[in-house]
């Protein structure tokens, strides 16, 4: 446990070092270039905008809404992906169906589907969640399938030898056995989902009466509050990094790293 903590701390310190460096470069650019704050605000202005956003109350709510939306979308998307996995491994027809579907839909950017999504699901949270689900399913299915195929036959033989039911086989062998791929799939899906969410929020406006971070950024943009816009972008980045490090980093350490299984 101490070892684990040390690793996280070291990694975090390194991160802070690089971030500090980038901020220094930013400050120098602002100082040297004498940019208008409409084009490149200083870190200080952005920080003040951040404080303002939080103190006016709405930014906090927007962050929660964004996270709730992406979490919902990812959960549903992952479940559906597992359903597809089940279909793909249970029959040859199932497999060709799933792989064809993936080939068609994976390259399609969620935002391209926007007009269709609006027509079918309206302009509320449902549409945003749908777009997130779409961003999540296809990379997830791809990884799940790869993970499933990567499981050594030996494990399955052991499972059969001990007369494991399909249910137990799945939870005791298939799931942990393909876990490195599952984790990789989750990481990719998260990145895609977060991106799609912010873009979708910019368009769909004030869902749940305040909208999410994407709407925050968009509003700042149209009212030419560039420091505010940057503040929103900073929030997006920070959340992205936090989830990467705190959530996925920890999971990875407790599972894949600990078990010596890597993709």
């Amino acid at each position: 446990m101490k070892y684990l903590l040390n690793r996280i701390i070291n990694r975090t310190l390194e991160r802070f070092m690089w971030i500090g460096l980038l901020i220094l470069i930013w400050i120098s650019a602002v100082w040297i270039g004498s940019f208008s704050p409409l084009v490149l605000p200083s870190p200080y202005q952005v920080f003040m905008s951040l404080l303002k956003g939080f103190s006016e109350g709405i930014l906090g709510k927007q962050i929660l809404i964004s996270i709730a939306l992406v979490f919902t979308g990812m959960s549903i998307g992952t479940l559906i992906a597992f359903a597809f996995l089940f279909l793909a491994v249970s029959s040859r027809m199932g497999e060709s169906f799933v792989t064809t579907l993936t080939a068609i839909f994976h390259p399609l950017a969620g935002i391209a589907l926007l007009p269709v999504v609006i027509l079918w699901f309206g302009t509320g949270a449902l549409s945003i969640i749908f777009i997130i689900i779409h961003s999540v399913i296809w990379p997830m299915v791809t990884n799940l399938l790869m993970g499933y195929r990567s499981i050594p036959e030996t494990y399955k033989i052991v499972g059969r030898n001990y007369q494991l039911s399909s249910f137990k086989m799945f939870f005791k062998i298939t799931l942990p056995g393909s876990f490195p791929y599952i984790l990789a799939g989750l990481k990719i899906s998260w990145a895609r989902a977060w991106r799609a969410l912010i873009s979708a929020e910019m368009i769909f406006g004030a869902v749940f009466s305040s909208g999410g971070i994407g709407w925050f950024i968009f509003s700042k943009r149209v009212f030419m509050d560039t420091p505010g816009m940057f503040a929103g972008i900073v929030v997006v980045i920070v959340i992205g990094v936090l989830i990467e490090d705190l959530v996925f980093g920890v999971i990875e350490n407790r599972t894949v790293r600990r078990w010596g299984m890597s993709v």
Binding site: P152, I157, V158, N161, G177, R258
Partner: protein, 254 residues
């Protein structure tokens, strides 16, 4: 040839073909063997003669094309916990479970009470008590094999089917593990079918020697005349060794 005691595992007219795109290879043809309860049988044979296939059929992991597999006179078609197969593979252990959990994996289905668990005893016997919380990737090859063996024993199998389990290890480690195996067998007296290509190992472990040729036929099936423990004269050993060696090499068609 066979001792008259009860027959636990019986193979009757087993035939197995492997089909490829344009040809069909008959690996086993009309093979019949009876194995008695508590017997330690060494199966020798050249590579590709079908010994691994034989073991897999015995455990029902693969299905035969003709013939029957019977346990205590009952036909069996599906794998079950009473017949545990131990593969050649270096990677049999589940990497996401500790040594202890890997071993106790076998016990889960026995519905034992905590104090009845054989795991601590097995860990001790295998010399792995200190490593019980380690993960397989942290272990040496020999330790992995010991863990796999311990797991195989933990489930109280009636029949243990071992496919060249010590094949990839160095001589010293082999001897150590052979000792471990014999200790367990002496203690629990399960029935063991031990496949190997090493005559030395076959003689040291098995009480009964079966030799297969590369067409999948049994060309020798007799009791191992060497005494188990204590000294046996090198003469006796080498006499048998040479006999089996020539049987083996003679059975290889060039």
């Amino acid at each position: 040839m066979k001792e008259s005691s009860d027959i636990l595992l019986s193979l009757k007219n087993i035939t197995k073909n492997f089909k490829s795109v344009d040809s069909s290879l008959t690996v086993l043809k009309n093979l019949s063997i009876d194995i008695n309860r508590g017997e330690f049988v060494s199966i020798l044979g050249p590579s590709g003669c079908g010994k691994s296939t034989l073991l897999k059929i015995c455990s029902s992991i693969i299905k035969q094309d003709a013939g029957e597999v019977c346990v205590s006179n009952v036909i069996v078609n599906h794998p079950d916990r009473t017949r545990i197969l131990m593969l050649q593979d270096d990677n049999q252990l589940f990497p996401w479970l500790t040594v202890k959990s890997n071993i106790s994996f076998a016990e889960e289905f026995l519905e034992l009470k905590r104090r009845e668990s054989k795991v601590p005893k097995l860990l001790e016997l295998a010399g792995l008590s200190e490593y019980s919380d380690y993960y397989p990737h942290q272990l040496s090859g020999g330790m992995k094999k010991r863990t796999a063996l311990a797991r195989a024993f933990a489930g109280n199998p009636e029949i243990l089917l071992m496919d060249e389990p010590f094949g990839s290890l160095d001589a010293k480690l082999k001897i150590k593990l052979q000792k471990f195996l014999l200790e367990i067998w002496n203690k629990y007296r399960m029935t063991i079918l031990f496949v190997t290509h090493d005559i030395d190992e076959a003689l040291r472990l098995g009480r009964r020697i079966i030799i297969m040729n590369d067409s999948g036929d049994i060309i020798c099936d007799e009791k191992n005349t060497l005494p188990r423990v204590g000294d046996f004269s090198e003469d006796e050993f080498f006499k048998l060794y040479r006999k089996y060696y020539s049987l083996l090499t003679g059975s290889i068609s060039l």
